[in-house]
């Protein structure tokens, strides 16, 4: 292919003929455009023509550039013509010529202050809508649960067990690892600071109460929200994108009963178990650091722990676990069912699911703290 691209002009009285040559193709388009623009501006004659007989190659790009020039001349009130059109390029020119190029102007940019205010308002409104949707999901879950209790054979037991394996059993190693480390860090920090005023032994009280009441369940719930909540959202979202949820509905199944109930029940079973394992692992990590770093013998640790911790402490932590599981599950499923057609929306909803469920878990923890304080637990 020859790279030659030029527009030379021949003037005869009030008419000008420009001739094009070389390759008028995509790869030379950026070089041709300035020449074409110059020709558009530079012509003063009334009658103008472009001769393309000497063009070697022509594609849509070249054809459009020629067409564009002819159009702007016509709009300037000149008499514009195309000469030397080869028969094999006629179809291409007809196609390009029939285009209207009428693109409506982009919607005007709005005042940035107004846009910020609007987005704040929208966010507030969407918080309200979110709460309504969570309540709705809780309602449909209860309805589905009632149906399942009345007709136990309709419960998707296999699906529940499968989910239990995914969110419970397979989460055990990572939960154990993280909670051992958290317990160890708590004990190390406690010993480091308590030692200054000779209160090393109270580290055991601190670790015991903190882990069993708060940290164990919180860490596990944050892990589960990140690990299982996100996967629920992504799964349900992908199923929505591929119309699988709609297929279920048209076959007379309730997606809440088929897809969501087994998932949430699996979470409600798995999270307390994980919380128990996590709390034990954290105590183990705390005890290990107390022994190796603080010099507190394991027997002393256990004896002190027995005094510091009552069964109430343990119960407070465990009671919270199923409720938090419910919150994580509902948020994950609500977000999953809101996924729209695009891949971007799937990502956005998955992020939302994790952020919202962690936020709600912490809020719920605060509510529980007030509640237990009020009833003296």
């Amino acid at each position: 292919m020859t790279a030659g691209i030029l527009l030379s002009s021949q003037t005869r009285g009030d008419s000008v003929e420009l001739s094009a040559a070389g390759s008028w193709t995509a790869e030379y388009a950026s070089a041709i455009e300035p020449q074409v623009d110059a020709a558009t501006r530079g012509v003063t004659a009334h009658s103008v023509a472009i001769n393309i007989a000497r063009v070697d190659y022509l594609d849509t790009y070249g054809a459009w550039l020629i067409e564009r020039t002819l159009r702007s001349w016509t709009s300037q009130g000149r008499d514009a013509r195309l000469v030397g059109l080869r028969e094999d390029y006629r179809g291409l020119f007809d196609k390009v010529h029939s285009g209207t190029q009428t693109l409506s102007p982009p919607p005007p940019r709005r005042n940035s202050i107004m846009a910020t205010l609007e987005s704040v308002g929208m966010t507030m409104a969407s918080v309200g809508a979110d709460l309504v949707m969570l309540a709705q999901m809780l309602g449909s879950l209860l309805v589905a649960l009632k149906r399942v209790i009345l007709r136990p054979t309709s419960f998707r037991f296999t699906s529940m067990v499968h989910q239990l394996e995914r969110v419970g059993w397979r989460a055990v190693p990572i939960v154990l690892l993280i909670t051992v480390l958290i317990g160890a860090i708590l004990a190390q920090q406690g010993i480091f600071h308590f030692r200054k005023f000779g209160a090393d032994i109270f580290v055991i009280d601190m670790v015991g109460v903190l882990v069993l009441r708060e940290v164990g369940v919180l860490i596990v719930c944050i892990m589960v929200a990140g690990r299982s909540g996100s996967s629920y959202t992504a799964e349900l979202g992908a199923m929505r994108m591929r119309e699988e949820v709609d297929a279920l509905r048209t076959m007379g199944f309730d997606p809440v009963e088929v897809l969501i109930l087994p998932r949430i029940i699996a979470l409600i079973i798995a999270v307390p178990i994980l919380t128990f394992l996590g709390s034990m692992a954290a105590l183990y990590g705390g005890g290990l650091v107390s022994w190796l770093y603080g010099g507190i013998q394991p027997e002393v640790f256990l004896a002190r722990l027995r005094e510091a911790v009552t069964s109430t402490t343990f119960e407070v932590g465990m009671i919270k676990a199923p409720f938090m599981a419910l919150v994580i599950g509902i948020v994950a499923c609500v977000e999953g069912l809101q996924v729209q057609g695009s891949a971007e929306s799937l990502g956005e909803k998955t992020t939302n699911s994790v952020v919202k469920s962690i936020f709600l878990v912490i809020v719920l923890d605060g509510v529980f703290a007030m509640f237990f304080a009020a009833i003296g637990m």
Binding site: A29, S30, E33, T60, R68, V96, S98, Q101, G341
Partner: protein, 258 residues
């Protein structure tokens, strides 16, 4: 017709998870022709297409595109080839997070250094060429119907004025009128730019109306390749069932009436 092959496939063997899907496929696609590629579901049509496109690894054989053996092509040479072909995927494969305009401009932006104005104009020209109104430019793929998605995907495949166009079941999922229009559109665009079209299809109407040549894949090989008359004259049992079945006969009658 110029008998210059743009795609040459020689003795291609492809295995998927130990299954020999293609077993010695030899096929040529010539410049300026529309090749219809048929075969039973699961015969490996998509596998052959994806292997030519480099999306699947091959076991044995040679694939040359524009006379360049793809195995010997360096990265730059390969990119040069990829710039000269366009692919229309079955589901359109539009980027869902980009607008229609951005989808069509995407390959242009990557390969050519054009002004924003020219890029927009070219994108709109392409959209109008495939029979869409310019106002789809700012829409998102999720706002479009199935037929419009195919057209946008075709506009994107044509964005760089390719010399080879791969179409994977272009008319599947379209109503017969839209499918007929789409066939005519492909034919018009092909005549306009004289590109080679490699079309995987099950649509007998498409085969009748726009294909210059037909290649049939079966048992991992090309059973037959030639014009529609060759296909009709063939004694191969699968071909007889395909081209003389109930659906084919009605199609043929309709074609004869026109």
């Amino acid at each position: 017709m110029a008998q210059e092959p743009v795609i040459e496939v020689r003795d291609l063997v492809v295995e998927l998870k130990g299954n020999r899907v293609l077993n010695g496929v030899t096929l040529d696609v010539y410049r300026g022709e529309i090749l219809g590629f048929v075969g039973a579901s699961g015969a490996g049509k998509s596998v052959l297409t994806r292997t030519i496109l480099g999306l699947l690894p091959k076991r044995l054989g040679r694939i040359s595109v524009f006379g360049v053996n793809l195995d010997e092509a360096g990265e730059v040479q390969r990119q040069e080839i990829e710039r000269r072909w366009g692919i229309l995927f079955q589901q359109g494969a539009l980027f869902s997070s980009l607008t229609v305009g951005e989808n069509v401009e995407f390959p242009i932006r990557e390969y050519l250094d054009l002004s924003d104005r020219l890029m927009t104009e070219i994108a709109i020209t392409k959209l109008e060429m495939v029979g869409l109104k310019p106002d789809v430019y700012r829409k998102y793929p999720s706002e479009l119907s199935g037929g419009m998605i195919k057209r946008v995907a075709l506009a994107r495949a044509l964005a760089l004025d390719p010399e080879i166009l791969f179409l994977d079941e272009p008319t599947s999922g379209l109503d017969p009128i839209s499918a007929g229009d789409f066939d005519q559109l492909i034919l018009t665009l092909q005549r306009v730019s004289s590109m080679a079209v490699f079309m995987v299809t099950h649509d007998l109407d498409s085969l009748h109306t726009i294909c210059d040549r037909i290649a049939v894949l079966g048992d991992g090989k090309i059973i037959e390749a030639g014009t529609m008359d060759t296909m009709l004259a063939s004694q191969h049992p699968w071909l007889k069932a395909y081209f003389h079945g109930v659906r084919a006969r009605t199609g043929l009658k309709a074609a004869a009436r026109n």
